[in-house]
Chain length 110, copies 2
DNA sequence: TCATTATATAATTATATACTTATATAAAAC
DNA sequence: GTTTTATATAAGTATATAATTATATAATGA
């Protein structure tokens, strides 16, 4: 159970098409910034700024690997159960990642 | 299952503390504008404008009774299942209405 | 070492948002 | 009939938001 204020903050964050898509993607698999730029067809700074907001609120974590920064959904976040039950309603299950893979643009480390 | 865009629209609407509270209240019981003004301690135009946004998106319905306009949550809305599973996480179950009743300010028609 | 690639961030700008104040309308109460 | 109560809405204002452009940094690769 969350307080209204806490819930509103999460909903406001996810109430943006770009951030909601990023969150849905990261719920399926980790991604680096350039993959998200490719998928969402948006400028790199725009993506980085959205990721910043998600990170500032603790919703995503970042890991640096070689020249890439990989983002992952913070499934330990107190509000992750809320996020998950929202994403359960969204029909966006890894299609973009599949498409990226088919284009041979998926970045796999190690 | 909803599209990303549709979901983002709903989350943006509920991503405001005032509208989220209104929605949580209306999920429990119908309310007129002046009750919401009393509960939320905000100006009447501010409340009316939030209700307008919810109404414009089909989330609430209004019924005129005597001098009051009663708002109710539109539980037939395609996105109501999403809304309900969000509200399931919110610890805001009619406390404000109880307080209003104790103050003798609850407006009961018929 | 120099060019390239991946990323972050600052500055700017345009637009959206939420609130206030003022006003209009309609029903109820006196 | 005039006042009061409940509500909606328009206009104005302040702030927030999301994008672009420009720039900085750090790692990779030639």
């Amino acid at each position: 159970m969350y307080h209204i204020e806490e819930t509103a903050t999460i909903l406001k964050l996810l109430g943006d098409k770009t951030r909601l898509t990023i969150t849905a993607i990261l719920n399926e698999t980790d991604c680096c910034v350039c993959e998200l730029v490719d998928i969402l067809q948006m400028s790199q700074p725009a993506i980085s700024q959205h990721l910043r907001k998600l990170k500032d609120n603790g919703l995503v974590k970042e890991t640096k690997k070689a020249q890439w920064v990989f983002y992952s959904l913070n499934k330990q976040h107190v509000c992750y159960p809320l996020i998950q039950s929202i994403l359960d309603h969204v029909s966006n299950k890894g299609e973009e990642i599949d498409r990226l893979e088919q284009k041979g643009k998926r970045i796999l480390c190690e």
